[in-house]
Amino acid sequence: MTAAGATATIAHPTPAARAARNRRRTGLALTLPAVLVMAGLTVVPVVSVIQRAISGEGRAAFGRLVGSPDFGRVLLNTAVWTVVAVVGALLVGHAAALLMHSRYLRLAGFWRGLFMIPWIIPNVVGATVWKWNFSVDYGLVNHWLLQAGLIAQPIGWLSDPSVVLIALAVVQVWFTAPFIMLMVSAALTAIPEERIEAARIDGAGGPAVLRHIILPAIRTTSGLAALLMVVWALNSFTIIWVATGGGPAGASTILPILIYQAFQTGDAAMVSAVALIQLVVSMVFAVIYIRAIRDDMEEAAS
């Protein structure tokens, strides 16, 4: 009887089980094209990086890297750069997106389009303009600050080792904040207006609505934006390369600069060694992100 029942279940699955299996299959089929494309594009490079990094040559490169007198400072620089760039971009981007949804703003679309410009112009051009603006001799930032009487001496934004990294992180914020604005704007449209109205009727003020309704509703997007900013910060070298080349005296050298220097000098083992470090650090953040939104993932899937 029991056995027969079991057999029956296997031979003729219940409609519910069959539907579940169909859903699994459909789900897998839908993921397949993207997975194949990404596998095609990334598996070979990643495997060769790992291979080279753990080979004898790669271990020697790790030795050279860790043994180099400046390695500790490069890590510290990378951390400072990442934190300032990510936090700055998240703050500016969220503020801009919320402003764009303000009821009092007219022509929001126009403003949003304008504020996208830093992200539209070519990186090299933007970085060069900032480099000029920060120059001691012909930089407008120093010129205007001097004229306004705010400073007595021009500041070496790019030549003073104590400010250069922050100045460059500000440039990175300038480049990346529009992207966060875009993502958050899209997420904000998904919040049902009734929910905000209801809270207002209940007497909640602006900050309370922001804290209890808006921010929780966009948290998966904010998290994704934060993750992406971290990954970008850990991979971007254009701004620093154009503006300071990692100087002065290594004050703005971060991991991506090391990798690009090694790439330019044809040091493949060093490229793989640094790339592996970057990959592992990025993966840690990715796993943190995915764990953080795990509940959300399970509850959304039907």
């Binding site: 503006a243 080349g245 100087g247 790439f263």
Partner: protein, 414 residues
């Protein structure tokens, strides 16, 4: 019915997009050319105008070959060449910087062109450094066609205003003149301390070589004294104030702009810069680089033709290189100085402003150190010079740090 309509539209649009993408990709797949009749030549965009004329002549003389010119640009060349040489699909001829070739030689990516040198193209006709830079052991992997170096460029008006009649010939003169020249908005000089590491490292090396350092097999061999002397000038000058503090944020071309703006009175620059200054109406003069007690040394660099080991049409490539290396073609394609002595007779290479550069090149220059291990050390030297300029490190400590790092990476000096 309405529901189905929209869904059908959705499916149709999606399907159309997929088909469209597939068709675009299918359409783009190359038809393929006959490699035995085509020679692909990667040529920098600043050479392309004259190169186009030369290619037309070459094709007229060689009707069985057609040359496909591909323009490279200064900012993309190094990456493109490096990736193409690593792949199985490189072009047939590449115009590249001589100092970058040793990395490619070390990877085994270039074909040996030694047998191209002979009665029609004797080795003795080349400026020795130009050949040395692209030779490894007995084999020469390129034909150099251009060779140049920097010399001293100075503003005659600013010198006169400071009561100086002659450009500095020795380091003692340099220091004395620098003190007189530095006042108000004007500083004596500036160094390219931002931008490409090689540019700054070359300034440092020039002074180290003048003070007795040597280069063996592409690796500089310096002692603490020569290294320290070089750091005192290139880095220490900023800390002491006779080189502009802006040095830390300018590259070669911005040093030139500082000179044009009258902010610096002299600097080390190439022949091309002089033309710009004349155009800008500056009373410019040129001279040999000062050394400890006479003319100083400089590293020279240039451009040459490479044929990749995996080139599809090696015989066609060699014919093109042979044509481009004739003295008369070489002279036409050269913005600075040709690598062959017999090509440098033209008076345009020897006017009043160019002569010091030519003398520096012919008599007081060596090819740059280009061993890959040393090239890998450039960022460290770059950073150390900057640290000296910032006053974080003394020239003596900086010299010791460079020595220690060189010993660690290159092995103890022999």
């Amino acid at each position: 019915m309405r529901i189905r309509g929209r869904t059908a539209a959705f499916i149709a649009v999606t399907g159309a997009m997929v088909l469209g993408v597939a068709a675009t990709i299918g359409y783009s797949v190359g038809t393929g050319r006959d490699p035995s009749r085509t020679v692909t030549w990667w040529v920098p965009n600043w050479d392309s105008e004259i190169a186009t004329e030369l290619v037309a002549e070459f094709e007229a003389q060689n009707p069985d070959l057609s040359v496909e010119m591909v323009e490279t640009t200064s900012d993309t060349m190094a990456n493109k060449v490096s990736v193409a040489l690593d792949s199985d699909n490189p072009p047939d001829v590449i115009t590249e910087l001589s100092s970058r070739t040793r990395t490619y030689i070390a990877k085994g990516a270039l074909s040996d062109l030694s047998d191209m040198y002979g009665p029609d193209m004797p080795r003795s006709d080349f400026i020795p450094g130009a050949l040395e830079a692209v030779t490894d052991g007995a084999a020469t992997y390129a034909v150099p066609y251009r060779w140049d170096c920097v010399a001293l460029i100075y503003n005659k008006d600013l010198f006169a205003a400071a009561g100086i009649t002659e450009p500095p010939a020795t380091w003692a003169d340099l220091l004395a003149d620098a003190r007189k020249l530095t006042s108000g908005d004007v500083t004596a000089t500036a160094w390219p301390m931002s931008g490409a590491a090689e540019d700054l490292v070359r300034r440092y090396l020039g002074f180290a070589l003048s003070a007795g350092a040597t280069i063996e097999h592409g690796v500089p061999r310096m002692d603490l004294a020569s290294s320290q002397a070089a750091l005192e000038i290139v880095g220490g000058s900023v800390a002491e104030g006779w080189a502009s503090r802006s040095s830390l944020e300018v590259d070669n071309s911005e040093v030139r702009e500082l000179f044009i703006n009258g902010r610096i009175a002299m600097y080390l620059g190439g022949v091309f810069d002089v033309e710009q200054h004349l155009e800008a109406g500056i009373n410019v003069g040129t001279a040999l680089t000062p050394g400890p007690d006479g003319p100083g040394m400089q590293t020279a660099d240039g451009w040459g033709y490479l044929v990749p080991e995996k080139a599809k049409n090696v015989s066609g490539a060699r014919r093109l290189v042979e044509f481009l290396s004739r003295p008369e073609t070489m002279a036409r394609l050269t913005m600075t100085y040709p690598a062959r002595i017999s090509a440098s007779g033209d008076p345009r290479f020897h006017d009043e402003y160019r002569e010091p550069h030519y003398e520096q090149l012919a008599e007081h220059s060596v090819p740059p150190p280009n061993d890959p291990a040393w090239v890998g050390l450039n960022p460290f030297v770059y950073s150390t010079v900057q640290a000296v300029a910032l006053g974080q490190t003394s020239p003596a400590d900086g010299a010791r740090a460079i020595q220690a790092e060189a010993d660690r990476v290159l092995g103890p000096a022999g």
